[in-house]
């Protein structure tokens, strides 16, 4: 470093660039401060909190039943999973099990939601890297599922489908047929996305070797969900600690090998197929019975605390509820998968080019609503 160091435009030392909160590719209001050395990223710092709405504080002010719709707004893409996790956590605390019919409906809706979440992920990931058409194709399929959701509960995105103790809405006439029609075409559509991307040199060039994180690092950083499975760790809460009616169904857990963006892409594609498989099994044998467990209208769990987690499309979504015996929770903690996953961005991005940062943010599949709550 000479003493006469001028700060010119083309200074070779580090510059800090901010991928500011408003950016087409950061899937929400996320600010990533990048320290660059020319084109290479040395360090990345995420600034979050732009979407903080105080959901956990609301959990202390609202009753258990009132709090469920608030949770839809957290991970607004996979709203059904949020609902499922919380309802199951409170049910655990109340020592109540939802009836089998409700469990099956829950599984079907959650898996359909997993498909929509992954479709949205694929669309936005592809469009960030330039493959615009995949985005439109994914949304075409997503539209079909959103129509099913709308027919079922009246809402497409923030669905509030389940209640503590079961589900409120009965499945409508024609539900099973509509789901079957969707499932008939869906595997072919996934193959269609594959023809556009999987063997494409440019796609492989943009995703192979990008954002590598070893299994050990991943577990150390708390990465969960498809990102963890892309690193070779075969762990899925639906198999490890089955909840709802998942133990009744046969499905595989796709696992990647090279821990890079391409493998995470393949893992999520395969997960879509497996979700379709679960739904096709479930929709055939929905048991009869009541929809809600017999419990008192006023939900007053016993004193104590509980932790329950489910496999949301983004990772391990956990709820830690401390109850003081009253109708409002004493503390509701949401363990958001995207929040913990986003920490790994720092490690994944080091040494890559600026253009790869976009790919890596896409592959982590984050939702700012969940990160900031």
């Amino acid at each position: 470093m000479s003493t006469k160091e001028e700060q010119t435009l083309f200074d070779a030392s580090e510059i800090t660039v901010s991928m500011g909160p408003q950016h087409p590719s950061t899937h929400g209001v996320l600010q990533v401060k990048l320290k660059l050395d020319g084109e290479r990223v040395i360090d990345a710092e995420c600034v979050i909190g732009y979407l903080h709405r105080g959901v956990e504080k609301l959990g202390e002010a609202q009753t258990y039943g009132q709090f469920v719709p608030t949770l839809d707004r957290m991970d607004y893409i996979a709203a059904v999973s949020n609902c499922l996790g919380y309802c199951e956590a409170v049910e655990k605390l109340l020592n109540v099990t939802a009836p089998p019919r409700a469990q099956y409906i829950r599984v079907i809706m959650t898996e359909l939601n997993r498909i929509t979440s992954h479709l949205l992920w694929l669309g936005t990931h592809a469009i960030d890297l330039g493959a615009v058409t995949v985005f439109l194709y994914c949304f075409r399929e997503r539209e079909e599922i959103l129509k099913i959701f709308e027919n079922y509960c009246g809402a497409r995105l923030t669905t509030h489908m389940f209640r503590i103790g079961g589900t409120q809405y009965e499945i409508y006439d024609g539900f099973q047929d509509q789901v079957r029609v969707f499932l008939k075409d869906f595997p072919k559509k996934v193959d269609e996305y594959e023809t556009l991307l999987t063997e494409n040199r440019i796609w492989i060039g943009r995703t192979r070797g990008v954002g590598v994180i070893s299994a050990k690092d991943a577990i150390d950083m708390g990465l969960t969900g498809p990102s963890l499975r892309g690193s070779g760790v075969e762990w899925d809460i639906r198999k490890a600690k089955p909840y709802a009616a998942y133990s009744d169904f046969e499905f595989d857990i796709p696992v990647g090998e090279q821990s890079d963006t391409y493998d995470r892409y393949m893992v999520r594609l395969e997960e879509m197929r497996q979700s379709a498989r679960i739904v096709s099994q479930a929709v055939e044998k929905i048991p009869d019975g009541p929809l809600m467990a017999k419990m008192s209208k006023i939900i007053k769990p016993p004193i104590g605390d509980i932790y329950h987690s489910i496999e949301s499309p983004k990772g391990e979504l956990g709820y830690y509820i401390v109850s003081d015996g009253s109708t409002q929770a004493y503390r509701t903690r949401v363990r958001p998968p995207s929040f913990v996953n986003l920490q790994s961005l720092k490690r994944m991005v080091a040494g890559h080019m600026v253009a790869d940062v976009v790919a890596i943010i896409g592959t982590l599949d984050i939702v700012l609503g969940e990160i900031d709550r």
């Binding site: 435009l9 660039v17 991928m19 087409p24 590719s25 084109e39 592809a126 469009i127 960030d128 890297l129 330039g130 493959a131 615009v132 058409t133 985005f135 439109l136 194709y137 075409r140 556009l196 991307l197 494409n200 440019i202 796609w203 060039g205 943009r206 080019m353 600026v354 253009a355 790869d356 940062v357 976009v358």
Partner: protein, 350 residues
Amino acid sequence: MDFAIDYILIPFIKIFIVFNVVAGVVALLTLAERKVAAWIQVRLGPMRVGPYGILQPLADGLKLMLKEDIVPAGADKWIFTLAPVISLVPAFIVFAVIPFGPADGFTILGHKISYFITDLNIGVLYVLSISSVGIIGIILGGWASNSKYPLLGALRSAAQMVSYEVALGFSIIGVLILAGSLSLVKIVEAQKAAGFWYVFLQPVGFILFFACGIAETNRAPFDLPEAESELVAGFHTEYSGFRFSLYFLAEYASMIVVSCMAVTLFWGGWLRPFPSVHNVVLDFLDAIPLAPLFWFAAKVVVFIYAYLWFRWTWPRYRYDQLMKVGWQWLLPLAMANVIVTAVLVLLLKG
């Protein structure tokens, strides 16, 4: 008098026609891009303005012209205004040498009218050098914006275009060896004499030429410098309204230029398939008035469609991969193509 008519009036009329046709095609191209994109993406595209959205370019043009004229603070106003013009004009000037048909076109009132404006005997050189001037427009645009990111984006675009120009030039040499002339008209006539469109004799050259052409015009998959989702938003960040539309039109005009060149150099220009075969059907096709124009236009349309098709299908290359492809793959391949062509020509002719 004859001189005035042959050398001033007729060229003027031709220039007028060509200019308007090209401008019209460029305008239609904006609509075509949106329509083709829409059909690939399972939707309809512009449908409201005019039947099936045909008048959309009019609406777009009007909108862009009526927008507020924003010049960034501290920007050099003259250069800021001039830069898009510098990009646009060369793209149009190139059409002076592109042959839409043979020299012996048709005769009106005793004056022979050819299907091109002029036949420069260094036509290829003219095209390459004039289209290079367009790069200056991009650099000036980025620089005149007085902002870090447009400048970096402009430099990136310029670096990309310059790199691919080299490979572009090399890919054409094979054709020049075969045709023995730099004049575009003579190249097409050489294809007629050879009986084959040069794409069958120079397939590698064609692929290289078209790939480099796509990179030249900053189109997908080589459009990272101007992509929206990247960090550096590109040289035209600060441009809006009419000036932005000039850059836009310049890009489409260069697309048409590259397509026309590809057609002329490799796909037989105005020639019909099997150009040297004569039989009743094919001669009848030749006799249709303005037949060469039809063949030329049809082939150019195919290439323009290919341009649009690629943009909406493939993801985009990262910048370093882009440069790597240009320098490490296309250029050596183009050089190898030249050597192989030269050797084969020598062997087969000697």
